[in-house]
């Protein structure tokens, strides 16, 4: 009665990805470790095919009752997640082969996490939100600890797991309050109850605060960011690259669809929370990163800082704001993947190094890589005319139109502070005398990813129009 064919056609990308993952899992179990490279390539290919499947042909609507929703925004976000995951899998081979942890479960867990993220993004019900979130989180806890003989990796996994469970608990508690006061977990029903003034105000607001706290944890916004630097530093570098990209997109997308969907009537209440989280993230991400010497920790703070800008776009609550969120996220994904591709290339005498100072002399030993990293750092710092600048510009325009003057000013001032540490990396690369050069590595996937990301950033910088139109189309769905 409820499960028409429509449900299956709308969810076909997810179903396809799951089917491929299951087959590859069996393949891996039968063939053992020797199948790892094949499984990882096949998984990446499947992720890309999944992204294509969403648009061939493109359909919108709700499926499985009203549990699952597909529209422009969810499809756009899913593309970002899928591309991020696929590239993260491709980048991981060299690293895991080095540490002798190249096992076929890794790409499959990432694929399952991606399914979880897609389900999160498509969630149209608090329960669907929760199961998607758990599917994603559980797979990510495991990949954080994937290098299981490394103390720091297991510590990162455990820390992420414990804190993530607390966040899930908060989210569930909030969801139960919302259910109690609004009488339903379906977004449509919650929205209706709130519009009719039936959802008892205070109880729903308290529930909403808990849900937002849980989601803020997942996208590492201050004050729920404590886990980020430790987990980013401890987790294997390719996993950190994945963490910095895909789960962020999913969590932010979820935050957008929850806040702009069912809880739109409570805009005045949640706007304050999101503004505070945004401003704190921007400021903390900028100031705490100054003293970091480990480049993975630095990227952790950088991601907190960027999430702050994205949340500022969300806080404006306007169509332009959501457009800025999508635009910024897309650019953030490319910049972060490129940066991590270069971090994965940092080796000295065959050993991975992670210090900022280890980059010294990169301009002479590998000029192309140095140039690519220069592009990413300038873009992250928001130097015009690079893509990161356009992202920040859109966010600030949206914030100012929503009369969030103080937040916008703090954001702009903090971006000056943040540009200090981005530019420090450039200075180290180009002007510092190295104690010892980094290894010159042969051409590899990571090099290709770094160069491709730099080219994409350059294209976005010169012609931001197509991306901004796509972002506008994605945002339009939320404002009928």
């Amino acid at each position: 009665m409820i499960m028409g064919l429509e449900s299956w056609t709308l969810a076909r990308p997810e179903i396809f990805l799951l089917a491929v993952t299951a087959l590859l899992l069996i393949w891996g179990v039968v063939r053992g470790e020797s199948a790892t490279t094949f499984v990882s390539l096949a998984t990446s290919a499947a992720l890309i095919v999944t992204a294509v499947l969403m648009f061939a042909p493109y359909r919108e609507g709700t499926a499985f009752g009203t549990l699952f929703i597909v529209d422009r925004l969810t499809s756009t976000m899913k593309v970002l997640v899928l591309v991020g995951s696929a590239v993260a899998i491709l980048m991981s081979r060299a690293y895991f082969e080095d540490v002798k942890a190249w096992r076929f479960e890794y790409p499959l867990l990432v694929a399952l996490a991606s399914v979880g993220m897609m389900l999160m993004i498509s969630a149209n019900d608090l329960m669907a939100l929760y199961v998607g979130l758990e599917l994603q989180s559980l797979a990510l806890y495991v990949v954080a600890a994937f290098q299981r003989d490394n103390v720091r990796s297991t510590e990162a996994g455990l820390k992420y797991f414990v804190l993530g469970s607390v966040a899930s608990g908060m989210l569930l508690f909030g969801a139960s309050l919302i259910y109690g006061f609004c009488g339903s977990t379906a977004f449509v029903q919650i929205s209706r109850a709130l519009l009719e003034g039936k959802g008892g105000e205070i109880g729903t607001v308290i529930g909403l605060v808990f849900v937002v706290a849980g989601l803020a944890f997942k996208c590492a916004a201050v004050p729920f960011h404590m886990w980020t630097p430790d987990v980013y530093e401890g987790a294997p570098t390719p996993v950190t690259a994945l963490f910095a990209v895909a789960p962020k997109v999913a969590a932010i997308s979820l935050l957008v669809s929850v806040l702009m969907g069912p809880f739109k009537p409570l805009f005045d209440q949640w706007q304050q929370i999101v503004v505070v989280a945004a401003v704190l993230s921007i400021a903390w991400g900028a100031f705490a990163a100054i003293r970091q010497t480990n480049i993975k920790r630095l990227m952790a703070y950088s991601s907190i800082n960027n999430v702050g800008y994205i949340l500022l776009g969300l806080a404006s609550g306007s169509e332009k704001g959501i457009q800025a969120v999508v635009f910024y996220l897309a650019i953030y994904v490319v910049m972060t993947l490129g940066t991590f591709a270069i971090i994965l290339l940092m080796k000295r005498r065959g050993v991975m190094v992670e210090g900022v100072n280890d980059l010294a002399g990169l301009a002479r030993s590998q000029p192309m890589m140095a140039l690519a990293l220069l592009v990413f750092m300038f873009s992250l710092a928001g130097v015009p005319p690079l893509a990161g600048f356009w992202g920040k510009l859109y966010v600030f325009i949206a914030a100012i139109e929503a009369k969030l003057y103080t937040a916008a000013v703090i954001g702009i001032l903090s971006s000056v502070v943040a540009s200090y540490y981005y530019l420090r990396i450039v200075k180290v690369m180009y002007f510092d005398e190295p104690a010892e050069m980094l290894d010159r590595l042969p051409f590899s996937v990571n090099r290709a990813v770094a160069l491709a990301s730099a080219v994409v950033i350059a294209l976005f910088s010169l012609a931001p129009q197509p991306l901004s139109l796509a972002a506008a189309a994605a945002a339009k769905g939320l404002f009928p």
Partner: protein
């Protein structure tokens, strides 16, 4: 109504108190025992609002499996050997206390169960209609139809948990002898049996 209210407050108080004890108590074994007490009381609260299915599931899953598992883990941890060695007698008073409290509560719960559901304040305005079917039946009616999607995704979460547990703990050790039943069964009798003529009083060398 008074009886239900008393029962509710007793159960609610014990839930809160034992949950606090889980955190406060220094000995992890006590913590787990208090956790079990908290689970039982939560189940009793479920019973009070007429959710007998969830109450039973709570006891079967949480007390029957999760808490016992915790207890095993905690007991296997090398926390304080001398204190653990003191053994049975040391845990007896607390264990007995928890047992007595549980017993009294079960009696109370059984006494209250027949007398309708408890109402503590105004019902939620949009709360679902209470229909005249049992909980189990109501869940069965929606679990595989309306909530089929959630059910499937929950299964996926379990799949991930299984893969994760294997990835993080399985280690292939060389030189482990395994029983291969098929090889044992297919062994021809020529390989397995030798017929020996034993001379009387000679024995087998």
């Amino acid at each position: 109504m008074l009886l239900q209210a008393i029962a509710f407050y007793v159960f609610a108080f014990v839930v809160m108190a034992s949950a606090a004890m889980v955190v406060v108590s220094r000995n992890p074994v006590y913590s787990v025992l208090f956790l079990i007490l908290a689970f039982f009381n939560a189940a009793a609260l479920m019973l009070l609002i007429g959710a007998e299915f969830i109450a039973m599931i709570l006891i079967i899953v949480y007390v029957g499996a999760v808490a016992v598992l915790f207890l095993f883990v905690v007991m296997m941890l090398d926390i304080n050997v001398t204190r653990l060695r003191e053994g049975f007698l040391k845990y007896l008073p607390v264990g007995a206390l928890i047992g007595i409290v549980l017993f009294c509560e079960i009696m109370l719960g059984l006494g209250v169960f027949g007398s309708g559901t408890a109402t503590l304040g105004e019902l939620g305005k949009a709360a679902p209609q209470v229909v005249a079917i049992t909980n189990t039946r109501a869940i069965g009616q929606v679990l595989y139809t309306q909530y089929f999607y959630l059910f499937q995704v929950a299964g996926l979460v379990l799949l991930v948990a299984m893969i994760g547990a294997i990835v993080l703990t399985l280690r292939r050790r060389p030189g482990v002898r395994r029983q291969r039943i098929s090889e044992q069964l297919y062994r021809p009798k020529e390989q397995a049996i030798t017929v020996v003529k034993v001379p009387t009083g000679g024995g087998v060398s």
